[in-house]
């Protein structure tokens, strides 16, 4: 395993130590594995709390800061945080104005956040939850666990974080979060597996001439394995299902093309050069775009595309100042 690690069991604790050393405007609660803003939540401001398994950096800890999250609970690699962790994050972030839980739709995340919300309510904290389920690679059905939550989460945390910063109340913040969540669709492709430190070897074996289509962000195999294709063909494999799922994809949008951790930026740009004309063809009017590693799957080579249909309010809030390790502008 070619990684910067000491004991694989200590990866999370030690990465948190590095985050604390690097970012003086964040506070790391090492015991609970929670990343918080160094400044307590302003009285009256709704707090945004997210979290999930680690291995997706900068998400979520790297999105804590002014204009975005108030706290993030970091689970072990690819393992949802426990209710205790989420509760600690929730209580520490609450200013009395209530807390929005931003949850990606995985059984583990949903159950642990649910339990935490019950515990928090018992302690008198008002909690609303939004569950992001944007991955079009997964067929949705009431009989299944439903779609995974992926890239839309990043865009949602930015937009809704800006509204909370403006002082909107919990109901308004939660309503916008649901609106953004419903407006987003994602699709991911992996060229290699990733290696979970505790497992010590790649999660799956992928021959040199094959790739996985429709992967999530936990190193799981994708929906199908196909022959390795050109960037041009891959762009189509990513754009088509998103456009198809929208029904009508036309209109203004915010787009995120995220590397999965092992794919360098030059390839991400090349891929975006193929994606952009396909989106235009489908009528997607790309108003804002982010390219880089924002939601990752350890060291997996691959990329995921997210399209969020954005109205004027979303665009205005997108442009509002944000100061986090992972996303920063306007201040």
């Amino acid at each position: 395993m070619k990684k910067f690690v000491n004991d694989p069991a200590d990866v999370l604790a030690e990465a948190l130590r590095g985050i604390q050393a690097a970012h003086t405007d964040l506070r790391v609660d090492a015991e609970n594995r929670v990343i918080l803003r160094a400044e307590p939540t302003r009285a009256g401001k709704v707090a945004l709390v997210s979290g999930g398994g680690s291995g997706h950096e900068p998400m979520h800890g790297g999105f804590v800061g002014r204009g975005m999250l108030d706290a993030a609970a970091a689970g072990e690699v690819f393992t949802s945080p426990t209710p205790d962790q989420v509760l600690a994050a929730t209580q520490a972030a609450d200013s009395g104005a209530g807390v929005l839980h931003i949850v990606k739709n995985y059984t583990g995340d949903v159950l642990n956040f649910e339990m935490a919300a019950e515990l928090a309510a018992a302690e008198g904290v008002q909690v609303e939850s939004v569950v992001v389920a944007d991955d079009v690679a997964v067929q949705d059905s009431t009989w299944t666990a439903g779609r995974r939550g992926t890239g839309t989460t990043v865009i949602l945390e930015k937009i809704v974080g800006a509204l909370a910063e403006e002082g909107a109340d919990l109901a308004a913040v939660a309503a916008l979060a649901r609106r953004v969540s419903e407006a987003g669709r994602s699709m991911g492709v992996a060229l290699t597996s990733c290696t979970v430190p505790a497992a010590g070897r790649p999660t799956f074996e992928l021959p040199d001439d094959e790739m996985e289509v429709g992967v999530g962000i936990h190193g799981e195999p994708g929906r199908s394995r196909v022959k390795l294709a050109s960037a041009r063909e891959i762009a189509k494999l990513m754009v088509d299902p998103i456009v198809h799922d929208f029904g009508d994809a036309a209109g203004p949008a915010i787009v995120l093309l995220s590397g999965l951790g092992g794919t360098p930026l030059i390839e991400q740009y090349l891929l975006y050069g193929e994606i952009a004309p396909l989106l235009a063809e489908a009528g997607v009017d790309v108003q804002r775009v982010l390219i880089g590693d924002y939601i990752t799957s350890l060291d997996m080579a691959g990329a995921s595309l997210t399209v969020v249909k954005a109205d004027d309010e979303m665009l205005r809030l997108w442009d509002a100042p944000v100061v986090t390790p992972g996303l920063r502008w306007g201040a």
């Binding site: 059984t107 642990n112 690679a137 299944t144 936990h218 929906r223």
Partner: protein, 207 residues
């Protein structure tokens, strides 16, 4: 059964999971995210660290186990295994004495709790596919005493685990693979089988 017997069960479960940690993670690599072995091992290590001194009663034991699993495992298995144990204590007819029927009732309550939390049905390719037949088998063999009931439950769990192999998953991460999830044993069904095998072994030794 004494509280000590039940503590021995939990310790045996921890040992079995430790021994099968890599195998559980390998199963989870095939159709999940390669962490079930480390998740369960981490949680059960934390549980065992809380068993000295031993809890005063079976009800207390189950509560400690459940709360510790919930707060140390994470993932899907943390709340689910945690719920299993958290529901067992309150379902005991009396908090202290435990006989075959009482443990059977507790296990049933636990499994129903897992179903309520996770909303999985038999056939969804989850731990329920091992747990559900196990509690039915327990009840059917209950008249033969705890060791026999536990052995029957363990055997039913193993059959249920093996039967997950051809299934297409409808719950948990494996469901994201669609048809590709067929052909692999569910890791949670495998760890649940270890739970019941540990119980059978412990009660056989106690006889």
């Amino acid at each position: 059964m004494s509280t000590d017997d039940l503590v021995a069960w939990i310790r045996a479960f921890r040992d079995a999971v430790t021994d099968h940690k890599d195998e559980l993670t390998r199963l989870d690599s095939e159709i999940g995210d390669a962490d079930h072995g480390s998740n369960m091992a981490r949680g059960l290590d934390a549980v065992v660290a809380k068993l000295d001194p031993a809890p005063a009663s079976p009800a207390e034991l189950f509560k400690t186990v459940g709360m510790t699993l919930v707060s140390t495992v994470g993932g899907a298995s943390g709340p689910l295994y945690g719920t299993l144990f958290l529901r067992m204590g309150p379902a005991l007819p009396s908090p202290d004495g435990v006989d075959t029927a009482a443990l059977g009732a507790a296990l049933r309550a636990g499994v129903e709790g897992v179903i309520a939390r996770g909303k999985a049905e038999p056939g969804d390719k989850t731990m329920i596919d091992a747990l559900s037949p196990a509690i039915d088998a327990w009840d059917a063999a209950a008249d033969d005493g705890p060791a026999a009931a536990a052995r029957a439950a363990a055997e039913a769990a193993a059959r249920g685990r093996d039967a997950t192999e051809p299934l297409v998953a409808r719950k948990g991460r494996a469901s994201y693979l669609g048809g590709r999830s067929a052909g692999h044993i569910d890791p949670g069904a495998a760890s649940s089988t270890l739970l019941l095998e540990a119980l059978a072994d412990t009660l056989a030794a106690a006889e």
